[in-house]
Structures are given as structure tokens and as C-alpha cells.
């Protein structure tokens, strides 16, 4: 333990030595650091028996999220660590990951980060199309907002014209699919090794991305391009409609995200064009969020969200949102316990499929939080990928303790 600690200190000093031109003498004493730990106890209950052999209905689980942050050199250098460990009945959901571990150098006009990092792009609520830097952790959460850490060099440059973010990435993170006991799976188990890479370099293929973003008046705009191994695997059927190839293709993806903030209304648009050897994808999400603030002086905010989702892939889309409407409501009580509720439904405009969701959370005392989540699949059409999951309606209870 002690040796490791010394090694680590040595690393910190090494960074300072090479990268701080002022030398490390005067600022060496001013080191700030902070450690935080989050413990989660979770219970997921699936209302119906699984369609496939071996699937469970009850999933008790625990997770740990340690975080460490250290800053020195007058705040211009820092190291961030964020880890994740989960133990679950589904052996594939039992996993650990380094969500973030990076060193960052901060200058007035630019920032440089080296290491594993999480980066979010986008503005919409029902789908995150332009967000492409990190692999999605689909066994962790249903909403697609849990991400795996991605090793990268990230350079961010700020000028009057906006912010330019440049990314060079390698060591591709493969998507983890559920195990035999798990839900939200296909009849056959998908193993990481079932997937092939289009590139001969496999997970070592260098990926690049650039994003320009700016806030101009009421508009917040982001324009991005990604070249490299696509985070979403392709499931290519053969002529008879059977699954023939599971592949991570090399893609070019251009994305645009725009939000206009006008009074109580947020207008949102996210669109992508993704080109690869097998398919050309064009998809967008667009809509609004209207907030009735402090309704009748109760302190409660009620937001209404409406978003339209389009994807030209139709059935092939893993997300299965080809021509859908999302309608939702966010209720923030703004009380001492920060009680919040998010209700929503995704309605397929062509087929019968509907997907309802409820998320709610509330703090207890100072260090506890309880959250519940429910997802209900209704009349899922047999022409959608989601048909595999038609019996996977569930409720989830989470108890979080913060240290």
C-alpha cells in the first residue's frame, strides 16, 4: 500500500515537473483533495417471467462509486478518479469499471486532459443521438445514460468564436450484454467475443472527434464530427432474416445539437448522419420543454416535454425508435428533500408499441436518497427489436448512502 502511494506521489510530481513551467517550488504546498463514496442497494423486480431459459425475476444488487479528486499548482492541474463496482445476480451485470481517471492541465484559454473520461454532448431528453464519445453501459441502466470510461487525449480550446474540443481516442470499450439470468436480452446470449471489428486494429483503432460549441444569444449550438469505431454494434441479418454478423463498423458521424431558450420554453433539436460500409443512418430528435414555474406559489415546477424521434433504419435500429413520439412531465417539488418525479411515454406512430416510464427520487436526512423507477412495455410490435424484451417490464428501488 505504502509503495503504491509513493509511486502515485511520484507520478504527481513528475507531471508537475514536466508541465509546470514555473517549477513546482512555490505552489507545491497548496494541494486540495477530496474523497467521496456512494453506496447503493438496489432491487429490481420484473413483473413477468422471462421468455428465455434461465432468466430471473428478482435482482437484488449492490454498487459502490468511489471518487477521488486532487488539485495542485494553484488549481491549474488536477487528477480525477471515479470508479464503479456492481454485484448482481446477473453475472454480466456484476462488473467493475474505471469511469474516469485522468490528469488535467488548465490554462486560461485551453484545457488538456489525458486518461479515461466521460463526455456528454446533446440537449434532448428522450434520446441522446449526438453523444458518441463513450460506450453505453446497457446492463447498468435502461435509459442509456450510464457510460463506460473512454481513454483519450482531450484538448479544449476557447476563443470568442466558441469552444473547440478535439479528441484522440483508442482502446475501444466493447458493449456488455446481459448474461443468462439477465433481462433485456435476446434468446441467444451475446458475448463480447461474438462481435468482430471492421478494422484490423480491432479495439486499438485510433478514433478522432471534433466539436465546436457556442452560446449565441438564446441559442446553444454544438456541431460535431466523429471518425472511428462506432460505439453501437451492428446486427446484420442474412437474406433469410437470421442474424449473420455482429460487427463494430468504422463510421463517420456528423452531429448537430441546438437549443433555443426562450422564456419558459426550451426548443431542442439533435440530428446525426452516420455513414459506414453497411448502412447510412439519418436520425433526429426534436421537441420542446415547457416549464410552469412555481405553480400557484406552491414552489412546485411542472415541466411538459414533447419530442419526436425519427430514425431511417427502422427495424435495424437497436434503440427501436424509428418514428416515435415521446411525451413526458417533470415535476420538481423544490422542497427540503428535493423530491422529483419524471413521467413519460414513448409511442410508436406506426406500430402498436408503447413504453411507459416513471422515475422519482427523494432525499432522506442528509446522506440518504431513495429513488424508484418503473418501465412498462405495452403492445410491443413483433417487427421491432424491442419485441425480444416484451416481457421485461420492471420496477427498481434504489437506496443510496453518501459518505
Amino acid at each position: 500500500m505504502k509503495i503504491q502511494f509513493l509511486k502515485y506521489q511520484y507520478l504527481v510530481l513528475l507531471f508537475s515537473f514536466f508541465l509546470n513551467q514555473n517549477g513546482l517550488s512555490q505552489n507545491e504546498e497548496k494541494i486540495n483533495d477530496e474523497f467521496n463514496l456512494e453506496l447503493e442497494i438496489e432491487y429490481r423486480y420484473f413483473f413477468n417471467q422471462g421468455l428465455y431459459r434461465g432468466q430471473g425475476q428478482h435482482f437484488p444488487s449492490v454498487a459502490f462509486r468511489p471518487e477521488y479528486f486532487i488539485e495542485w499548482d494553484d488549481g491549474s492541474q488536477n487528477i480525477n478518479f471515479s470508479g464503479f463496482v456492481r454485484l448482481d445476480r446477473d453475472d454480466k451485470r456484476t462488473n467493475w469499471d474505471i469511469r474516469e481517471l485522468y490528469w488535467q492541465l488548465v490554462k486560461p484559454k485551453w484545457e488538456l486532459s489525458l486518461g479515461a473520461k466521460k463526455v456528454f454532448w446533446g440537449v434532448t431528453e428522450s434520446s441522446h443521438l449526438v453523444d458518441i464519445i463513450n460506450q453505453t453501459d446497457i446492463v447498468e441502466s435502461f435509459d442509456g445514460e450510464a457510460k463506460l470510461g473512454q481513454p483519450m487525449i482531450h484538448f479544449s480550446y476557447m476563443i470568442n468564436m466558441g469552444v473547440f474540443d478535439l479528441f484522440a481516442m483508442s482502446y475501444f470499450r466493447e458493449r456488455q450484454f446481459p448474461g443468462e439470468k439477465g433481462r433485456f436480452r435476446t434468446p441467444f446470449l451475446l458475448e463480447k467475443t461474438d462481435f468482430i471489428f471492421q478494422s484490423d486494429l480491432k479495439k486499438w483503432h485510433p478514433d478522432f472527434a471534433i466539436r465546436w460549441s457556442n452560446s449565441i444569444n438564446v441559442f446553444d449550438i454544438g456541431f460535431s464530427h466523429f471518425y472511428g469505431t462506432g460505439r453501437e454494434p451492428l446486427i446484420l441479418p442474412d437474406n433469410e432474416g437470421n442474424i449473420a454478423n455482429l460487427i463494430y463498423p468504422i463510421i463517420h458521424q456528423t452531429g448537430l445539437d441546438v437549443q433555443a431558450t426562450t422564456g419558459p420554453v426550451l426548443w431542442k433539436f439533435e440530428g446525426i448522419s452516420r455513414l459506414n460500409e453497411y448502412q447510412n443512418v439519418f436520425a433526429f430528435v426534436s421537441g420542446f420543454e415547457y416549464t410552469f414555474g412555481n405553480v400557484k406559489n406552491s414552489g412546485i415546477d411542472i415541466g411538459l416535454i414533447g419530442e419526436y424521434l425519427y430514425d431511417n433504419r427502422g427495424v435495424l435500429a437497436l434503440g427501436s425508435m424509428a418514428n416515435d413520439l415521446f411525451i413526458g412531465s417533470r415535476i420538481a417539488f423544490n422542497d427540503t428533500q428535493s423530491t422529483e418525479i419524471l413521467l413519460g411515454g414513448i409511442f410508436d406512430l406506426e406500430k402498436s408499441s408503447k413504453l411507459f416510464s416513471l422515475e422519482a427520487s427523494r432525499r432522506f436526512g442528509t446522506d440518504w436518497k431513495v429513488s424508484i423507477e418503473a418501465r412498462i412495455m405495452s403492445k410491443i410490435s413483433n417487427s421491432e427489436f424491442l419485441y425480444f424484451f416484451r416481457e421485461d417490464s420492471f420496477a427498481r428501488l434504489q437506496l443510496l448512502k453518501f459518505f
Binding site: L266, N294, G299
Partner: protein
Amino acid sequence: MKKLSFVLAIITLSLLAFNNPISPEEKGLEIAKSADFADQGFESVKVELTMTLKNRNGQTSVRKLSNSTLEQITDGDKSLIVFKSPKDVLGTAILTYTHKQGSDDQWLYLPAIKRVKRISSSNKSGPFMGSEFAYEDLSSQEVEKYNYKFLKEEKLNNSNTSVVERIPVDPKSGYKRQVVWYNNEKDLRIEKIEFFDRKNQLLKTLTYSNYKLYLNKYWRAEQFKMVNHQTGKETLLDFENYEFGVGLTENDFTQNSLKRAGR
């Protein structure tokens, strides 16, 4: 030409001074401007805050945050608030560009998913973090955000104060009017504000205490106490470790710095 305009100016001034004695509205605005002027030039400041919420039964709940402010002369100030506790909101941060006219620009940072979200600032009357402070009570108090009317001079805690009524310009404000006590003996620092709801009923009283003078010029209260007369709840805001002259710049109030502040 020059001579003529000078003569005209003299005439106008004398007309103002003798024939049209200064109206209560003009005097009110004059006091607000002087108070604002007295506080100008601080450039940037950092402070740590503890917010204590008390309900009618005396139960308390505490939250900690830090605030950095960058002074702007031609437009409203910029500020960055970072939440430290309760721990479930640790790292949540809000960047605000206040504007003298129109609504403010505001971005919220959600650390769990590393997302920066531009949020609507039009809901200013709602409670901040479940407290008795509304967003509009805590945002930068620009002169242009109110219309003023001088009411009277009054003794308050052994000091001479000017009592000024101010009416929010923004129709979305939760208040019909506010009454402000400016301390005439201490560079017009504010001692007390009474808030009247849209029905013109007294809603809340904010009192400032433990004032300290920084850099020989800037008065800062170490405690704000907001009492809600209609619910019996109150919120204390305690300020610690005021840091003036830390040399913050525009670069410390960007979306990148918002992400960094929140982690």
C-alpha cells in the same frame, strides 16, 4: 455652440432644482444608483455559504455551497455557484450571466452524467434549494431590475436609513413590491428588505447582520436571515471566507469552468 449648450444646461439644472423639486421616484433611483456605485470596483469575489433551513417546528436542514462573482460594468454580473452538500447534490453547479435588461442566461451542470444544460431563467419566483430564498432574491441586484420610490427617512438600529420602495420590472417576479432600508451612515448598505407578494401582503423579511468592511470599501453581511411570515419558516445564510482580489477573469465563468467546478 458650446456656450449655448452650457447656458441651456444651467437653465435646465435650475429648473430642476427650483421649479421641479426632485420627485420621490427620482430620489429613490438616486439612492439605488449611489448604493450600487458605492459597491463598484470589487472586480471579483469568492465566498463559502452555509444555508440553514428551519421549518415551523424548528427542525433544521443544512446545505453548503460556494459562490464566485465576476463584476461587470456594462451588463449584469456573472456568477458560479457550486453545491457541496447535501452530498447527493455534490458537484451540481449553476453558471449565471445576469443581464440588466431581459432574462438572465443560466446553465446547470449535472455531474453524474457530465451534462451541461441551459435552463430557463424565467422561473425566478420559485424557491432556491427548498429555502425561503427565491432565485430572484439571490441573483445579482442590478439597478435596472426595479422602479424606485423614496418613502421616508427612518432610524433603524440607531442608524439613519433611507426607506425606498422598489417595484420589479419583470412581470414574472413573485413580488408586487419590496421595501428596502439603506443605511445612510454606512455607504448605503442594505439593512433590511420587506417582500410583498402579488396580493400586496407582507410575505417575507430579509435582515442583514454582522456586516464587515472589506478592502476599506465593500460592506458584506456575514448573515442573511429570511423569515417567511405566511408559513413561519425561515432560512439563514451564513457567509464565510470572503476572498476579494483573487483575480478571477472571464475565463473562470465559462461552461468549461462550470464543468470543472462541479467535477
